[in-house]
Structure formats: C-alpha cells, structure tokens
Amino acid sequence: MTAKLETAMEQIEIATGVLVVGGGMTGVATALEVARQGYPVTLIEAGEKVGPAAESRPRTGLPDARRLQDMAARLAQTDGIEVLTATRLDAAAGVAGDFKVWLSTAEDVLERRVGAIVVATEFDTAPLYDGYGLTPGGAVIGQSELEQRLAGDPGSFSGKTVAFVAGFAQSGNPMVMQRIFHCVKALQDAGAAGVYVYVGDLKVADDGLEREYRTGRDRGAIYFKLKEAPAIAASGAQVVIGFHDPVVRQQIEVTADCLVVEESLGVGAQCADLAAILRIDIGPRGFLQSDNIYRFPVATNREGIFVAGASREVRSLPWALADARNAALQVAEVLGDGTRLVPRDKAVVDIGKCTFCLTCYRCCPHGAIYWLSENKPVISPVACQACGICASECPMDAIQIGGFTDDLIRGQIAAKLAQVNGDPAIVAFCCQNSALPAGEMAATFRMSVPAGLRTIQVPCAGKIDLQYILDAFVSGADGVLVMACHPGNCKSERGNTYASWRVEDAQRLIAGAGLEPERLRFATLAANMGTDFKAIVVDMDQKIRELGKSRLH
C-alpha cells in the first residue's frame, strides 16, 4: 500500500506561520490558540490597541472585563506572537501553505510568509440617530453613552424615565437586545422610575436572553412591539414618544427623560478590501462568508483562509470565541507538522497544450491556481479541491483531474451504454456531493428507480463537459440527466451554474441534430433526498417513454 501511495502522492513543505487580521477579542483569542499549537503568529490591528480596547462588541454584562484584559495581556507573554498595531494588510499572493503577505505599518512595509490566514475583524458600530430622524444631544443618547453613564454614575438615573428604540433602523438582532436587557437591569437597580422599550421583533435567540427579558419585564419594564418606529419629538429636556399600541389598540404618548438609540452592527470597513486582497467571496450584507453550508463554521472558499467572529456574522462574544477555537483547529489541520502529503494528480496542467489564456485562473472558485513569472499556470495541490471546473472550462482541454480524466469518464459512458436492455437508456451525471449519495440512498432504501438508469459519478457538476453529454447521446442514451446541487449549495460555489449553462448549450446542439431538447434535463437536489432523486429519474423515464427511442439509433 505504501509503495502505491509513494508513486501517487508527493510531499509538500508548508509554511507554518499564521497571519491573524484584527486585534479585538476574536483576533486575540485566535492568536493565543494558534500559538499554543506551536505555530508562529503575526497579529495585525489597524487601530492603536489590541484586546478589549479594539473590541466592538458590547461588554456590558460580561462576567468580568478583567479576564478579557488578562487574555490580551497574555499576547505579550506568549512566545511566537508578533503584534503589529496601526498595521494593515496591503497585498497577498500565493495559496494555502505558501502565502506571501505585505503588511504596511506606520513606517514600513513588511513581508511575511505564512501558511494560513485568519480574518477576525470587528464590527463597525455607530448610533443610528439618522435612522430614527434624531440628532444626538439633550435627552437623545446612544447605547454606548448610556452604558458609560450607567457604569460611572448609575444614581443619576434614579427617578428618571428611560426609553429604548431598536430594530427599526436596522433589522433586529439578539446582540442589540442583550445590551438593552443589561441596561434595563442596571436602570432598575439604579431606581429608574420607568423603562420603556420599543422594538420590532424581540430577538431573543441567544443564550439566556428570554429569561433576562422576562426578569426585566417582571420588574416593571414595559415592552412595545411595533410594526414601525414610534414618532419621537423633543420637548424641552425630554422627549415625547407617540405610537399606536397594538395591544390596547390606541394611540399613546409617553414622555421620557432619556431616549436611547440602538447602534449599528455593520461589517467592518476593511472587509471589502480584505476580500479583494485575499480573493475570498463576500456574503450577504458584506460579511466575509458566503451563505453556504460547506463553509460551516469558519471556512471560506479558499483553503487556508478562515474567518472568525464579526468578520462573518453578528453574534455575541462567546460565539466569536468559539469561532476563534474553530479557526485554530482548522489552521492546524492545514499546517500539520509543516509537511503535507498530497496526490500528485489532483489537477494537472499540460503546459504543451496550454495557450495561457487565464481562463482557469479566473474560473477557479477556490483560488487554487497561481501564475508563475515564466507565464505558466500552476495548480496548488494543497488548495485545489479537485472540482474540475477549470478542466471543463479550459478551451484547450489542457487540464485533467485525477480519477476523473476525460478518458476515464468517456470510457465509462461508453461501457455503461454498451449493456442494452429494453428500457429507455438514461445516463445521469451525478455530482458526488449531492446526486450521487441521494441516488445511493434511493437504491439502498429499495426505492423503485427505472431499470435503464446509468449513473456516472463526477466530482462536481462543474466537471461535466459538453462533450460528455454529446458522447452519451451518440453512444446510445435516450435521455441524459445532469444532476447537481441546489443553487447556493455547491461546494465549489458555481459548479452547478456552469453545468446548467452547458446543458443549455447542449440542448441547442442536440436540437440542431434533430433530437428533442427534452431528452436532456438539468435538475438540482440535496444529498439527503433519496426521494427527490427517485422523483426526478422516474419523471425523466416517463418523458423518454413518451418520446420513444432516440432517433440517433
């Protein structure tokens, strides 16, 4: 077995340094975790300070802020951690195991070689005065200011009426609610006369929040859930809040001494630049992770680049610290002991055929292809996910994927169609991440699938060449199915999209050859849905029976 491995595998040297971008608590925790595993870390922070000072999350109510400071202080005491403040990532090149990064400090541009990168930036946060048509000052203050005042002189709220408004200028979220609940408690402890909270939905989907909400309410805080923001007007040193109460169904006015405006929790300003520099996909609302279950919890589309905490989602500090540990775990997985065994033939470019058109470099969803100075595309066996998208897109057919070479797949098509029976011959190209397991499930569970079905495994639907589809029809298929993951569920992000385009192209071609385009169909399904697999193939079988045998035979 080892002998065989030696011929197919090659050992790659991996740079074991790690770059952590962001010096809030997520970044600090990631750096400590990574360093504990023995990898040298460079932590960069755009601001002047790291630790709680760079943290954008609300810290009210956390067990003790001292522990966060202690954690940050451990950075300096830990061997192998280099902390650079007032430093930004300027540029990056290379692939997992071998990145080169350029860091601009106040004086200098530094260069480092690292094997992995973790982005752990913080939120951008600011009071949403504009969103509520308010100007700060007088009775109108932001959430942070309230927290500072409560920490400094809680007694000043004794006998006062305080109102909060949240969830209208931005959609609600549990972190904003948690901050409000903590302040409600502090105000009640300080002897406030009244506490009112105006929200859209009560977002309580995080640990302990429902209980905190109920406790505050039981102590007299009044919550109004409204469909739109209340009308707020200054009146001397106070504010008057007018709204329609949906419970008593009446217009109501409340006068408060203090109106507290929620703060935004937006993606960090540097994130767009970081995404461009690191060539990672941006997800909804600008966060650095696409909505894709393959990225759970901290992965990006690129091997060796991870995202933790506020760079990827709006969640509380305990979850961000969980991310830090996950990121460190995944970093260790990539870096190992500084060497890695990889298959030699994962994806191989035949330089003799290559015309240096850059197509593969552009279409690789995992950023696994780089360009050498001698004008030559190189595929990193560490970063490559062997999806085969580049192989199918290359205009020169210059790329082959190990285990899924054109010869192997085309040979399989011919062999499977050589066995003829009376049933309509249907070739189903099945993505191994979705349709293949779903099809195996249908078989194992003894669902009745058509007897003429022949499945061909592909690493990703993006590997399905136009030529394979035509081959299948020429070799005797009466129908061809291309089965991929649902849009948004492709491990390689766009493999299913490429496949659907190729099916459209092929439909035009077969129509030109006089075949009914319905003989070729594109379908999407999930790995856990054997019943969907069955429904698709049965439907296809019926369609082909209606159409009869292919006129190519």
């Binding site: 595993q37 959609s171 939905d201 909505d291 894709n292 019943t531």
Partner: protein, 394 residues
C-alpha cells in the same frame, strides 16, 4: 507528548457528537463515539431539504456529509445502542457502557415489500441515511465489524453531546396533538417530507390546501417554566413553509408567532420572501378542534381587534422547541457536572462555553442549550479544541 495514547469518549452521536469526534480523530486522537439509538445522526439526520429554487442553508444535508466523514474515519470506534452506565476516576476516566436496548429493525421485515409500501419503516430500518446502512447486517443485527459491543473503556476526556428532546405537545393539551389527526409537530413534518418527498395530511395522505404553523410551542412559555427561545424553530418552520409553498404555489400558509428570529446574514431578504408568500399573524392560537372532514378548527385572537375568531386549516404544524434531554439529570449526577437553570448542562464559563464544572469533561451542541445545526457544529469544534488543549498535546 505521545498523541497515540490519547483517547476521548464522545457521548451522543448527533451532529454535535459526530463533529467533535471527527475533529478529534483528525487531530490524531482515538475516539469512542457512544450513541444510544441504533443509528448515528440524532434528530438532524431525519430532516428534509428545504430548498426552493435556492438552497436555504438549513444544514440538513451537511449532517449527511458529517456522517460520511465519521464512517470513513478509522480512529472513531462507534458504539451503537449503547450508553454510559458508570464513570470512575478523575482523568483518566473509566467509563462502563451498557446496552440501551435499541436495536435496528431487520430490513426485510421493515422493507421487504419495497420502499413505496411503507416509506417510514424503510427509512427507519436503515437509520434514515445510506451512511448508517454500513452498520447493519441484512438480517437486522449490527455488523460487528462496524459496531463495537458495549464494554468498559478507559479515556482521557469525555465530551457530552447528548442533545435535546423536541417538546412533547401533550404538555399543551389544548393543541390536541395525537387526538386531531392533522395536527402534527415540526419533527413529524420534517420526517414525512424526508421519507415521502412531500407534505401530506396524516388523515388521508392528501396534499393540504391551507396550512398553519404555530411558533414557540413549548418554548418561551412562562406557564411551563420554559424561559428560553429554542432558536431553531423560526428558521426551520419558515424555511420549510417557504420550500413547501415554492413546490405548491397555490398553498395557503399562515404563521402564528410572537417574534420571528433571524436565520443567516441573508435573513432580511429571506423574511421578505416569506412575508410575500404567506400570512403572518402575531398571536398564538388558543385551542383546536377537529371538523368532520378532518379539518382543524383553530381559535385565536384576531390581531386587528383582539376578538376571538376561528379558522379551519387542513394541516396545523406545531413548531416544537428544543428541550433538555431526558437523560440530563441522571447523566449530570453520574458525571458530576451540574445542570443550568433551564435543565441543559451548565456551562459556567462564558469565555469558553465548552467547559463544564469539571476538568476533563466537556459539552457540545444542544446538550448545553438550544442552538441550530451550524451552531452545534461550531460548538463541537470549540469542544474538540478545548479537549486538545486539555490533553496538552495541541
């Protein structure tokens, strides 16, 4: 330190336990994965895909993938139908396992006449997933090459990933679950969609025309003393409703709710899509009765004027929440790790929520509190990292 000698037990083989086991095994640790049921995957291996023309990121198919990882990982020794009976020592720990009494059904008995004759039985007999099929012999017993028999195991650390139980609606008798055929739980709906491939009314197998989802069933309920949001039921109910509506555009769907919780970063667009295709009523229905033709007469307070109204739905789905596991008190006692106020395992350290009150014992997933599949995976990764730190090897 010699990593080969380190061994960890993971109790519970749901998505959290499988993720923890896999991450530990990848890091070189030997893992004993102990599951009480006759299959791996817990509840989430039984859920249906909720894609419309787009994947809705429910995470269900990711559980299949994790199960595939686990069965392909030689460092994980799988014990099925087993549970911990006693724990001795203070790290290392000696854990004595015993049979839980669950056994797989013989495939021929359950499924001899083909899947279509009895889909639910066929799916259950194979543990809901092709990947579980490797554990069984054709005659229904466990394959001894893949499933270890209960024994006494010495381990350096233990991860508790025993999960949750869905709320039992019998505790809310006015919903008449089990008495009215077409009142089902979210779990019933998920299972049915998974094994039949579509929504159907239990009474007659027909496609419903008018459906209702009732949120917060068993959660956020002062009377029951359940002062927590289950976090997963807004996401699962809305995704399931949207997917069903996508498949059957003529279907009329009402969602009764208190507050809608977020899904992912794309929540705003997702929720807007939901609002355009279904009706949202901010009230929780009071009670239900069966009509002669199997309809569910549902009484609630109208949002506009607060007056009671009745409406008949032909399928009502109770969005049951995440409750602490039945074994929690006994396990907490046996393992010497406390329970928190809500009955989940206590996680005393906010800065490391995988730690329990005892060294060497860790918690992962919904055993520690309500969370989604993605949350459970993050929690399990955190636990695996904490275990590695504890083992002093990392």
């Amino acid at each position: 330190m010699n990593s080969q000698t380190k061994k960890v037990m993971v109790i519970g083989g749901g998505i959290a336990g499988m993720t923890a086991a896999w991450e530990l095994a990848r890091a070189g640790v030997e893992v004993a994965l102990v599951e009480k049921a006759a299959f791996l995957g817990g509840y989430s291996i039984q859920y249906a895909c909720k894609a419309t023309d787009q994947c809705q990121q429910c995470g269900a198919c990711g559980v299949e993938k994790m199960l595939a990882n686990v069965i392909g990982e030689p460092r994980i020794r799988v014990y099925l139908a087993a549970e911990a009976a006693a724990v001795a020592g203070d790290g290392p720990f000696t854990v004595t396992l015993r049979a839980s009494g669950n056994q797989p059904e013989a495939i021929d008995a359950a499924c001899g006449k083909g899947y279509e004759k009895d889909p639910a039985a066929c799916a259950a007999a194979r543990g809901y997933s092709i990947h579980n099929a490797v554990f069984y012999k054709a005659d229904g017993g466990f394959d001894p090459r893949r499933v270890a028999a209960p024994e006494s195991v010495e381990v350096d650390a233990v991860v508790v990933a025993t999960g949750f139980v869905p709320f039992n609606p019998d505790e809310k008798p006015t919903y008449r679950y089990r008495q009215v055929a077409n009142v089902v739980t979210g779990l019933d709906l998920e299972r049915a969609k998974r094994v039949y491939g579509d929504v159907r009314r239990p009474s007659d197998g027909a496609l419903p025309k008018k459906m209702a989802f009732i949120q917060c069933v068993g959660s956020r309920d002062e009377r029951l003393g359940h002062l927590w949001c289950s976090q997963a039921c807004c996401p699962y109910a809305l995704r399931s409703a949207l997917a069903t509506r996508f498949k059957h555009p003529e279907l009329d769907i009402t969602v009764f709710y208190m507050d809608i919780q977020n899904t992912t970063n794309s929540f705003d667009t997702f929720y807007e899509q939901c609002r355009q295709s279904m009706r949202f009523v901010r009230t929780i229905p009071v009670d239900m009765y069966e009509t002669e033709d199997g309809g569910v007469r549902t009484r609630f307070m109208a949002e506009e004027d607060g007056l009671p109204v009745e409406e008949i739905f032909d399928l009502v789905v109770l969005s049951v929440g995440i409750m602490p596991g039945n074994d929690n008190p006994a396990l907490a006692e046996m393992l010497g790790i406390g329970l928190g106020a809500e009955g989940f395992f206590a996680r005393p350290d906010l800065l490391n929520t995988s730690a329990t009150v005892r060294n060497g014992l860790f918690v992962a997933g919904t055993a520690g509190g309500p969370m989604t599949i993605s949350g459970s995976m993050a929690s399990a990764g955190q636990s695996a990292a904490a275990v590695l730190q504890y083992l002093g090897r990392a």
